[in-house]
């Protein structure tokens, strides 16, 4: 395998994605808008509605806090356990659009023939296509984490005179993004190689990314505690899963399926 060829495929796809603001605008805009709007909304809720919400959904950290500190406890809990998972998953969901187009787009625009006529191996091709969606997802997640972290800290310092972030679980969430992104993107790229066109790939992709929403919802409902140990186990599990999934993808990926 030659890494330069992987790089060429990745770079070509990224250039295509960024050739039009209509393609990359919404893809980047939505996660970044969430990174700005949600912390502001959180602070508003923390200040005005924290005690009633805490009572309604029975979040232990907030319920146990003294009345004077309920708003701080709410902001602390919400910033890490709710905004964290949302910021983790949102860039992956939007990057799946690139992944859905990866091979299906080559097929639909009939460019696969010239691509496959070169000496690219199927490993180089598959990796190149995966990275073309994976890198924007990870870069977008880093930017979104930095943005929402800064906003949370700015707002909490203004309101409570303390910085909430970073915490270790929060940093581990950021570290988990590449591992969390790789699996769905690999699956979507593989699906993209087996369907007839981009529309079909996007339909299936929308179904596949739904499980990603489990993490923010489980956290919101108190079903998952995003502790340090949970995050470490999650990263380990995802790393193994990604590794196995890549080898399965390689086994079921056929160059010919891009032409038929």
């Amino acid at each position: 395998m030659k890494l330069n060829k992987v790089y060429q495929v990745t770079w070509k796809d990224i250039k295509e994605t960024f050739s039009s603001i209509l393609i990359f605008g919404p893809m980047f805009g939505i996660p970044l808008a969430f990174a700005v709007i949600l912390p502001v909304l959180s602070l508003y809720i923390a200040v005005h509605e924290a005690p009633s919400i805490a009572a309604a959904i029975k979040i232990p950290n907030i319920s146990a806090a003294l009345p004077a500190f309920k708003s701080i406890a709410f902001m602390d809990y919400f910033s890490i356990n709710i905004l964290g998972p949302i910021t983790m998953t949102m860039p992956i969901i939007t990057s799946a659009v690139i992944a859905a187009d990866s091979f299906a787009g080559e097929k639909e625009r009939k460019t696969a023939e010239s691509l496959l006529s070169t000496s690219l191996s199927k490993t180089e091709l598959l990796l190149g296509k995966i990275f073309a969606s994976f890198l924007p997802a990870v870069i977008m997640a880093v930017i979104a984490f930095a943005l929402y972290g800064s906003i949370v800290n700015y707002l909490s310092f203004q309101q409570f005179h303390l910085f909430i972030l970073p915490t270790l679980p929060w940093l581990l969430m950021l570290a988990a993004v590449p591992f969390l992104a790789l699996a769905p993107i690999s699956i979507v790229v593989l699906i993209s190689s087996h369907v007839k066109g981009v529309k079909e790939a996007q339909q299936l992709t929308s179904l596949l990314v739904l499980p990603l929403l489990v993490l923010p919802f489980a956290s919101l409902l108190g079903l998952a505690s995003l502790s340090v140990s949970f995050m470490l186990y999650l990263i380990l599990f995802l790393a193994i899963f990604d590794f196995v999934l890549f080898y399965v993808s390689l086994a079921v990926f056929h160059r010919e399926s891009l032409i038929n």
Partner: protein, 302 residues
């Protein structure tokens, strides 16, 4: 010199459709024309050679390697498909750089080589333009340039002149003829008989997934002109009685004098004999056009 392409008993099926049916072929240096109607399996044949398709059975070998499995051998090959197969939202320069880099070429090498070809094809002015903005013919020129970047030892061309004007088509044909003299192997797929007549080379005729004839472009006229017809135009009107004296069956639009007539001939040798008789009877022949038969009729006895 090692045989570039060697194919033995190749079958390629798509579910129940047999696209290639027991095809065996050994290439020769220079231009190998592949002629056949739509659905004859010509494009599938090229795709099997370059390794886009895995043979259902039989073998495809290029310089002793199997292109579907041995990726590196494809560095010595190039395919220009009937679709231009370029990235619409990248510029011409970005497209050429991408493919050139995949062929392990350095940027300056890619640009000097491609600029030379594009200049000769009068397409250099589009170098920094996005492919989506170009005409179909220009895209085809860029695609041809892309196919030549790696100086392929095996060049596979699927109807390369389909969307080009006459002068660009002529330029490509001359380029290919010259390129073939450099000990390269070229497979040139076409379904235009007119195109075939411009080469003096090997001719493979395909029909329904089989190679039905392996001949030369010169001998194709035995088939084309068999039980065929030619249109003769006259410099001044000729009486019907003069046409009758030539001794060949004919059709004409007018009843007394005609300025052109369609004659039915048995083979190409009849052309000389017919024209000789008309001239002898004081007809002034201005031009002769053969009426191109459908490619489906070739090698089916006319």
């Amino acid at each position: 010199m090692e045989t570039a392409i060697s194919i033995k008993n190749l079958y390629k099926t798509f579910r129940k459709t047999v696209a290639l049916d027991n095809v065996s072929f050994i290439s020769k240096e220079g231009v190998n024309i592949i002629l056949g109607p739509n659905g004859a399996g010509k494009s599938t044949f090229l795709r099997c050679i370059i390794g886009l398709y895995k043979p259902s059975s039989g073998s495809v070998s290029v310089f002793g390697k199997r292109p579907y499995f041995d990726d590196e051998i494809r560095d010595k090959m190039s395919l220009l498909s009937d679709n231009y197969a370029l990235y619409d939202f990248l510029t011409v320069k970005q497209n050429l750089r991408f493919f050139g880099n995949l062929y392990k070429l350095k940027d300056n090498e890619i640009f000097s080589k491609s600029k030379k070809i594009l200049k000769e094809m009068d397409a250099l002015k589009f170098f920094d333009r996005k492919v989506v903005e170009l005409s179909r013919g220009t895209k085809q020129k860029i695609a041809f340039c892309r196919a030549m970047l790696n100086d392929p030892d095996v060049l596979l061309l699927d109807e390369p002149t389909a969307f080009l004007d006459a002068s660009s088509s002529e330029w490509i044909r001359n380029f290919i003829l010259d390129y073939g003299k450099k000990r390269k192997t070229i497979l040139f797929v076409t379904q235009k008989l007119d195109e075939v007549s411009r080469f003096n080379s090997r001719l493979i005729i395909m029909r329904e997934g089989k190679i039905v004839e392996d001949t030369t472009t010169y001998y194709i006229y035995n088939d084309i002109m068999k039980s065929s017809s030619i249109l003769i135009r006259f410099a001044r009107p000729v009486a019907i009685s003069v046409l009758k004296k030539a001794g060949y069956k004919f059709d004409s639009m007018e009843s007394k004098e005609v300025s052109s007539a369609k004659f039915y001939i048995n083979n190409y040798k009849d052309v000389n004999s017919l024209v000789g008789k008309l001239i002898k009877n004081k007809a002034f022949v201005l031009g002769i056009d053969y009426i191109e038969p459908l490619v489906e009729r070739i090698s089916k006895g006319g």
